[in-house]
């Protein structure tokens, strides 16, 4: 993961400025994108993450040129491309359905973009060979596209989109049609291809785990807006608002009072009356009453002491760890995740009283 200073020096490859995209007219218009601004850096693996219908595909299609923005600008290395048709944009797409040309062979599919760019026969031949090698499909160049498996079709779609050497590669949920094992394999492959080709990837997924493991940076989207942009670590550990905290991984929400705030650190008083330190997003002005989040793995259940206390409601064994569901004294639920040690039970049973020890620096104050 690049350090922040390093990342700042990188050029911006794609920038969306105050993009609005409305479908339909008048009162039944749907705002698929509502004032979206984001800057994607050169050579970055950038992920658009959000639930179905939040506008990910629409944003990708605006960058590819299949749709035009209602308002706003799209810049590619500083030039506004929002008005250019797709065939004039040095950007390629891997479609969710792959969209391989059924009347062409695997090689002809991969060659298509190069042919349209008017490259020489020799160049096309060597480039196609190199691309097929990159995706491990050297042997299957002469196959028809209905004679290959789903995973192979995925690779061909990738090779076809990478062959013309685009400045940016757009991938719309490319792995969602693959089974679990193949998906895990392709996640690693995609990362490898991105670092080998040095091309900026904009990757769309609704799978938070996929986003966390693959991305350099993630933009979390909901209802046509971008809620937070940051590294996987930022998104997971410093969620800006309730939606992000809830969408990414499991988390505990607590209401607390902000007692003190200085720089990006605050002291909050929990419902139990105990005070703990918490981090605050930059430039945020917490109200007196605030919601804080604590990840289950950043807290421990203890027999005595702790900043919160309650009763054990359920104990779920997961092999690597155990989840202990505790009902706090103020009635709200709290889950603790503890790593399992060999031949040692977590020590709690349903009905037991339990204290909760929150790790230092584990609490984050949310926006809103």
């Amino acid at each position: 993961m690049p350090k922040p200073e390093e990342a700042e020096q990188k050029r911006v490859a794609v920038e969306a400025r105050s993009i609005v995209k409305a479908f339909g007219q008048g009162s039944n218009a749907i705002r698929a994108l509502d004032n979206v601004s984001v800057a994607i850096r050169e050579n970055e693996f950038f992920t658009l993450l959000g639930p179905s219908g939040c506008g990910k595909t629409t944003l990708l299609r605006l960058i590819a040129g299949f749709e035009y923005p209602t308002e706003g600008a799209i810049l590619l290395y500083g030039d506004d491309i929002a008005g250019l048709p797709p065939f004039k944009r040095p950007v390629n797409t891997v479609f969710q359905s792959y969209a391989l040309f059924p009347h062409l062979t695997v090689s002809e599919n991969v060659a298509f973009g190069l042919e349209m760019l008017g490259r020489s026969k020799d160049e096309i031949k060597s480039r196609v060979a190199a691309m097929l090698k990159l995706v491990h499909m050297e042997e299957l160049g002469n196959r028809r596209t209905d004679q290959i498996s789903g995973g192979q079709a995925q690779r061909v779609a990738l090779a076809r989109a990478l062959a013309p050497g685009p400045k940016v590669l757009l991938l719309d949920e490319p792995l969602s049609a693959l089974d679990y094992k193949l998906r895990k394999e392709m996640q690693i492959e995609l990362k490898r291809m991105q670092s080998e080709t040095g091309i900026t990837f904009i990757f769309v997924t609704h799978d938070q785990e996929e986003a966390l493991t693959m991305s350099d940076r993630i933009a979390v989207m909901s209802k046509g807006r971008i809620l937070q942009v940051g590294s996987p670590w930022d998104i997971y550990d410093k969620p800006a608002d309730r939606f992000v905290a809830d969408f990414i991984g499991e988390t505990n929400f607590l209401t607390a009072a902000v007692v003190d705030i200085a720089n990006s650190r605050a002291t909050v008083r929990l419902s139990s009356g105990k005070e703990i330190p918490a981090t605050v997003a930059e430039g945020m002005q917490p109200k007196h009453e605030a919601t804080i989040v604590v990840r289950p793995e950043h807290a421990r259940a203890v027999k005595k002491g702790g900043q919160l206390s309650g009763t054990v409601e359920n104990v779920v064994y997961f092999g690597t760890d155990t989840h202990i569901h505790i009902r706090l004294e103020d009635g709200s639920p709290f889950t603790v995740r503890q790593q399992n040690a060999r031949s040692e039970f977590c020590g709690f049973e349903i009905g037991d009283p339990a204290g909760i020890e929150i790790a230092a620096d584990a609490a984050q104050v949310l926006r809103d």
């Binding site: 065939f87 359905s97 969209a99 040309f101 298509f112 349209m116 760019l117 013309p164």
Partner: protein
């Protein structure tokens, strides 16, 4: 108790009715075909098996002339109709729905709904004026008229094919730097080919078969095979007509079978 689903196939009398229907449909045709191979001069008295009447028809210069004219008209009309229908199908499927689109569908398919005799009379009136103005009285009128009523037949299979085609493929082509023309030439057209061939063949058969409009529009000495046969039957009826009809039938069966075969190969 097992309740049986209502199935029309198992209703009493259904099989009988079906048989009678097929019988009534195909018996006359069978008789016609059989008598085409009749050796005698009569169309009702069987005189033994022979290809005599096929030979007579084949060597009849009036039949040759009419057959050629039919083919020329059908080839030109089907070609023009297919080109027009392809453009119409692209224009009506490769656009988001808008008010008035349904009206356009109806307009394109209009020749299917307007009684043929009405079109025939209308064309007769218009073309007779045009003939006076221009002095031209060639095959152009027949080709134009046939093109017009062939368009909906060519349009239907082409539109069906376009509608079942994944739009993403054209988008993918554009994404890979294909201009709209190149995307059409390299992706849409090859994938559309079965639909276009089917449309062409349907139009071809429809044109070959037409009597009413042709009868009204043709100038003197412009008989097509069907109008020639009609003229023959009005005078003396010989098994020659059976032979021509049988050859005609064979050609149509071949074309229509090929049409179904190509359509089946869709994906």
């Amino acid at each position: 108790m097992v309740r049986r689903r209502f199935e029309i196939r198992t209703q009493p009398g259904f099989a009988f009715l079906a048989l009678v229907t097929f019988f009534m449909l195909y018996l006359p045709i069978a008789v016609l075909v059989v008598y085409a191979f009749n050796a005698s001069d009569s169309i009702t008295i069987w005189g033994g098996l022979s290809l005599h009447w096929f030979r007579v028809a084949w060597n009849n210069s009036a039949v040759q002339d009419a057959a050629w004219r039919s083919l020329i008209i059908a080839v030109f009309a089907a070609t023009f109709a297919t080109i027009t229908a392809t453009m119409a199908a692209l224009a009506t499927t490769r656009t988001p729905p808008y008010p008035g689109l349904t009206f356009k569908y109806a307009f394109i398919n209009q020749p299917l709904m307007v009684p043929e005799i009405v079109t025939a009379v209308a064309l007769l009136i218009v073309f007779s004026r045009v003939k006076v103005w221009t002095g031209y009285s060639g095959l152009g009128y027949l080709i134009a008229a046939h093109t017009a009523f062939c368009i909906p037949f060519a349009y239907l299979p082409i539109r069906a094919r376009l509608e079942s085609m994944d739009l993403t493929l054209e988008r993918a082509a554009a994404d890979l730097y294909a201009t709209p023309w190149m995307a059409f030439k390299r992706i849409t057209l090859p994938l559309l080919r079965p639909g276009i061939i089917a449309g062409f063949m349907l139009a071809f058969v429809i044109s070959l078969d037409d009597v009413v409009i042709t009868e009204f529009v043709k100038s003197g000495g412009q008989d097509t095979l069907p109008t020639y046969m009609l003229g023959q039957i009005r005078r003396t009826v010989t098994p020659e007509v059976n032979a021509i009809a049988t050859a005609f039938l064979a050609l149509s069966v071949i074309l229509v079978t090929a049409f179904f075969f190509i359509n089946r190969q869709k994906n």
